[in-house]
């Protein structure tokens, strides 16, 4: 099924999976901010950042082919924006490799920069989501004071997402099996409206049933979970180490030179 693979690695186990979700969230967020803030003509400077998402992915046992496939899947918009930079940005920039140097258009560099940042930030996000259960991630978000109602809404969205997707696949199968051969545009439109409208009514009723069932079981707006996050020594070490590493790559360049 199309949807089953999305976060299928989240429930596995590895040293990375066992890290505190709050720590992983902070590290990935800080990483993303620092990578995005790299100036637009820098390309070689982006390479060292790869170490962080790459380590998380390989130690987390996430197949790199899966990550690559996923990157391709979500890339169209960023490629669409970046690909025009070489056409429009004719600012000459001197690139030197060893003794020889040559001029390239700034747009070529900024295009490579955007694509590089994309690969870095999305693979970091994949590393986070593929090594953390969604419920743990939500708990981390709640710990960071994301409004409780919003967290609750997210948890319901996730819980019923796959159920409703299967329902819609059944509705689509029914439509397709009745609409073999060429049918008129008007009919197809009517069928689409019917499927979505029908799904809406069913969802509305399902939502009411869910709420009634929850109230019957004493729901008072609070969600209690058994898995309590606990900051271990390893988590603290990872937090400090990862943040120092990213900060060193971003701001430490002049010191090395």
């Amino acid at each position: 099924m199309h949807h089953a693979y999305i976060d299928r690695f989240a429930t596995a186990d590895s040293p990375v999976h066992r890290l505190d979700p709050r720590v992983k969230l902070v590290v990935v967020l800080a990483f993303t901010v620092l990578v995005v803030s790299v100036p637009k003509y820098e390309v070689a400077a982006l390479f060292p950042y790869a170490l962080l998402p790459f380590s998380l992915l390989v130690f987390g046992g996430i197949p790199l082919g899966f990550v690559a496939k996923h990157l391709l899947l979500v890339s169209p918009f960023v490629v669409f924006v970046a690909v025009f930079n070489p056409l429009y940005d004719a600012e000459p920039v001197l690139v030197r490799l060893g003794a020889g140097g040559y001029w390239v258009r700034g747009g070529v560099l900024s295009c490579a920069n955007i694509c590089g940042k994309f690969v870095l930030t999305v693979s970091a996000l994949v590393a986070l989501v593929s090594t953390t259960r969604f419920s743990d991630l939500l708990q981390a978000l709640a710990w960071f004071r994301l409004p409780r109602l919003f967290v609750l809404e997210l948890s319901f969205l996730y819980r019923y997402l796959f159920l409703l997707i299967e329902q819609v696949l059944r509705l689509k199968r029914a439509r397709d099996s009745r609409g073999v051969g060429g049918v008129r545009l008007g009919w197809r439109l009517r069928a689409t409206g019917g499927i979505i409208g029908n799904l809406f009514v069913r969802t509305l009723e399902r939502g009411e049933r869910i709420y009634a069932a929850m109230v019957a079981r004493g729901f008072d707006g609070a969600v209690r979970t058994l898995r309590q996050p606990r900051l271990r020594g390893v988590d603290a070490a990872f937090l400090v180490g990862a943040l120092l590493f990213v900060a060193a790559v971003r701001f430490g360049g002049p010191l090395v030179r």
Binding site: F84, N85, D89, Y160, L164, G197
Partner: protein, 337 residues
Amino acid sequence: MPNEVLSPQVAGGFIAAGVVGLGLATLRARRTFHDSRVPMMGVMGAFVFAAQMVNFQILGGSSGHLGGGVLLAILLGPHVAALVMAAILTVQCLIFNDGGLLALGCNVFNMGLLAPYVGYAVYRAVLGRRAEGTSAGRLYVASFAGALAGVTAGAAAVPVQIALSGMSAVPFPTFFVVMVGVHLLIGAVEGVITFAVVLYLVQVRPDVLDVAVTTGRERVSRGAVAVSVAIFALFVGGLVSLAASELPDGLEWLTEEKAYAKPAQAAHARHPVMEEVSGWRERTAPLPDYSVRGQEPPPYWTSVAGVVGTLATLGVVYVLAVVVRRRQPAGGSGEVG
């Protein structure tokens, strides 16, 4: 929208705007929608996800699908729709990695706030003041126009945000016209599907709509179709005239292209001072890497060493990880999937 086309300042600004907007939406939504109905909103988010999977074959192989923001605003009101869309965009970012973490603010602003509110405003404006006894034809035109306007408004904000960030070299007018043009087509498909869903609900479950339709007038009239086409034509016409006024810009770009056919020489010929400066720089810093005007170039070996060193380190990390994972007890506590 991904992270990389935004600057941290713009991303931060729109995260703040999104938070404020959602806060206001929450306050307004609470007047009609009790806290305890939050499960319903979550399930509605799942509904939009599922509805997005229903493809609508248009012509030949091309097919469109629903975005859902405006439909939700029509069915549940714009405040609830904004909160549901925010949850959808968050899940889309976290689970499907579609749209970056930093860009979430912009995405919520465009698709979660602009689209439902603009769409709903247009829908209400077309519907007029009378809440009860409106004709079905007017309702269809209103939902079509609302969806078209909402989608277009959300898309129009994207080039503005990217231009503010300065990450894309494409001139703002060109980008704007292309983005809005593409989304007029997407918006028309959205409008047609929204229209079809409202049509179904009017005929099957009129009680879920907040607008009552005069009985006996549920069918789509030719007039409603004609008005919808006219609204779409109006939008496209506006865009075409906008694009036409930008044409000289495109021509300028072409001539510039020719001048820069050999970018290095052309630029040097035009900037004797720059030539002098870069000549001086080449003498003092013998092996610069990127020399952008006005910036001190780093010595080349740092970056080459950085690239080679990174690749080597990645290899070491990979081998290390393989070894570590081998030493884990096989078939241990994990691997549930």
